[in-house]
Symmetry: C2
Subunit: 311 residues, 2 copies
Amino acid sequence: MAFDRLIEKIAEMQNPTVAGLDPKLAYIPEYIKTEAFEKYGKTLEGAAEALWLYNKGLIDALCDVVPAVKPQAAYYEMYGWQGVRTLEKTIKYAQEKGLFVITDAKRNDIGATMEAYAAAHLGVTDIDGEKAEAFGADALTVNGYLGTDGIKPVINTAVNGDKGMFVLVKTSNPSSGELQNLELAGEETIYLHMGKLCEQWGEEIMGKYGYSGVGAVVGATYPEQLKELRTELPHTFFLVPGYGAQGGTADDIAGAFDKNGLGAVVNSSRGIMCAWQKEGCDGSAYAEAAKNEALKMKKLLLDVAGEIRLP
Amino acid sequence: MAFDRLIEKIAEMQNPTVAGLDPKLAYIPEYIKTEAFEKYGKTLEGAAEALWLYNKGLIDALCDVVPAVKPQAAYYEMYGWQGVRTLEKTIKYAQEKGLFVITDAKRNDIGATMEAYAAAHLGVTDIDGEKAEAFGADALTVNGYLGTDGIKPVINTAVNGDKGMFVLVKTSNPSSGELQNLELAGEETIYLHMGKLCEQWGEEIMGKYGYSGVGAVVGATYPEQLKELRTELPHTFFLVPGYGAQGGTADDIAGAFDKNGLGAVVNSSRGIMCAWQKEGCDGSAYAEAAKNEALKMKKLLLDVAGEIRLP
């Protein structure tokens, strides 16, 4: 099961960090952009090439210190199909370097359409009898607003292909409570209800370390809810966004980990990607700066997670 | 405002139908696939070419009888970046033929990331000072589970660029009630609450015919809720999936229309795309069969909507 692989990598590296790959042009050093624009001009193709070169450097620097990366689909789609091609190249390259890849695409739909998304991002596509892999990540973030019809096709693909998913439960943004914190007539919140659906959906795809292949997105910015959900959802692995730039600290995340220091992988995107800007480095040191920032984050997280042990 | 354009086209054509463009290979006539596979093999590229040829024929046949088309992103993504390139070509070609294009991608995220999705699908992307359009549809479906942070960036793009959006409110699938029908402690359902958020979000982007640029997805398969939502959400234009293959009939949809026969655009995907298979036509007649089916649907919808008039 995919999250068994993720858990083993987290334990092996003693690091529950996932590095976000959200490559905005503004984050990319000038020399990389110059190289790309000289080849292809200031076009979608040129931008996509800059993204690719930048990501490649990040992956080379990070693959020894983090177990996973999380490309955010939006930052590739904004550069058209050319950007989407960079997403595909990035996923494949990261996997070659041994990284677990979570595509953050928050996809959602029903039935045959959700099957198509699952095939696109986690599975294989059938082309009149020939099989091809479109994007082939290890896990995908999904939005459960449509209920089981939108999740079942991803579970089927995950079971057959050693893949996993993270369902949005309690997101990190300020307005997340507008819907997610509303109380249902039965006196539980929507996010808790969604979390319990994850536990239920996960029964079909249990891993050997007690966590299922149906994870949950729970923001670092809501520490009380993180703690509540860790208790209520013992078999659900968390993807925790909101660390760093969004204001979440290592202390805020403490409640996300179980007694073995497992149970969560914590994302940092801008913090790692833009470390070179924050530290006023020369652009050519961007990958080194990213690695140093990832090591700093690892230390802070281990301080609250404790030594990470396989159960 | 984009939905003013949509409404005018609906009135001009006397047809509230949107044709879904969900081009699975299984729906595509053999002679088109043969042509594409001879050029590019049974590869993602070959499949993407078949999708493109098929779509082009559908658009040529439908552009005189329907006001809008709705490509479903999943069916392009499953064929990799090559499929995503076909999505882009399809959108541009449909617009050249005068069609209003709704990209059904149900995107959702927050802040800068949602801005990236809005730029990708509705706006323009900045490439170090140069502007490029990535996909450039007229409207986008979005999922509001993350609250205002996930909608505001789309509204900003819509206001600046004459675009619109449809927020998932009550979806057409069997399990949609698992979350959407739950009752909140205040005694309204989640879908109604989400609908009321649409009314609120729409205040910033009101059109001249009484409908805002923030529409809602409401399934044909739940006629009672359609009627309820039409009454509760007087400024929210509906995108109605679930007609035909999913079981919704014209009678089920009657409640979605206002007294002018406006208020909703009704989607049919498989019904129109696969008409040639259902009617046992030769593959070469697929576009003609699609057109005939669209005309049949127009008649059935007008029977319940009445004559369509601009207010």
